[in-house]
Amino acid sequence: MDAALTVMDELTTEDIEIRLLLEALYRRYHYDFRNYAQASIKRRLRQARQQLGVATFSALQDRLLHDPEAASRVVRLLTVQVSDFFRDPGYFRAIREKVVPHLKTYPSLKVWIAGCSAGEELHSFAILFREEGLEDRTLFYATDINQSALDAAAQGIYPISRLQAFTENHRLSGGRSSLSDYYTTGYGGAVFDKSLRERVVFSDHSLVTDAVFSEMHLISCRNVMIYFDRQLQDRALGLFSDSLIRNGFLGLGSKESLRFSARADDFVDFVKDEKIYQRRMA
């Protein structure tokens, strides 16, 4: 009988399995998580393994290659949907007080909410732009790779239990109106006024594999790149840099930063504490 092979330990078996699984997901379904930050991918794949009742990542890979339904569950698990209206009110206050005065100098505006989740951030911007008198000249692009999140965003319906927190955040962001002006409550929840979504283009767009948008004045991409590794973060930042007009604005999540990126030089701090940057003049 042959002796067992020696195990090489640069990578653990699990790490190898995960790489193969992500490769399979990409080849089969074109969802590319290969360069996502490994630690949280691993955590979520462990959850997927448990939920689908399989013992190993290899078995999970087998399952999702042959069962598109299971694959779609895994993709949903891998694209985390945690968001809020006016999440980090200080960010929206800074947009209102520092960025809006610049935006007012343009006759027409394009704003891209990248990784818009179920639309909380988009609706926050739409309300803020209406309050600031910018709505009529603005076209919003709201993108995500999670189709059910995009569908939810286009519906604009949220559980009534979340309204209290939404209202408080809106107030803290310097809101000039009452949030209740924008929704009606019914059996299904709070339905936000569809006029808020009249000037919005929803689209399935991946920061990993898809192309640039043109001539954006403001891009808000919050808590999306924390799920990327550095290489992928650099790609996304390149995309943003190429999509923005000169002096256009980029807003990130409150714990994200350009400090550790190769593309840092494309941008200058605009409101440092709120992670709002401005595209450098070419």
């Binding site: 930050a37 630690a39 955590r43 945690v82 550095r230 714990k255």
Partner: protein
Amino acid sequence: MIVSGGAVAIGASAGAIQMLLRILPALPKTYPLPVFVVVHVPPGRRSELATLFAGKCRIAVQEAEDKQPVIAGTITFAPPDYHMLIETDRTLSLSTDDPVFFSRPSIDVLFESAADAYGAAMTGVILTGANEDGANGLRAIGLCGGRTIVQNPATAYARAMPEAALARWPSACVLGPDQIVESLIAAVDS
């Protein structure tokens, strides 16, 4: 996979500040390891933890930012409302994944990722607290051959968390506050 130069991860909940005030300021100026800390705090705009401890510690203190390289001899607090994870390339990453045991940041999330990144070179410490977060994480560190320390529940402000950790990983060292400090320092002297 296991790389030299380990790291310390500490998790604490109810009663955390007082315990950490006994441990962290006692680390010497030359302490060579990175120290990651998760304290359960209500989500707020900015945590005061890093500021509070910076004034009292002899080594550097900071709050984590996403993709930051791990720094030796520095205490890094997880920011409120984000999980903090350690990547195998020794950078920090943050996530807004669901809370674990109602907690974000969660001790389990930090410890499990740290076990993957540092293996046997990892030391995990569970202090006072009133829930079960950290028990699975401590076990993960133990299973990788890392050092596991649990505050003696008798000395803890809230004993549920150290007790849960011991139930899940009974071979952890059970130490009082001063012994924890000694043990963290002794481990790097030898």
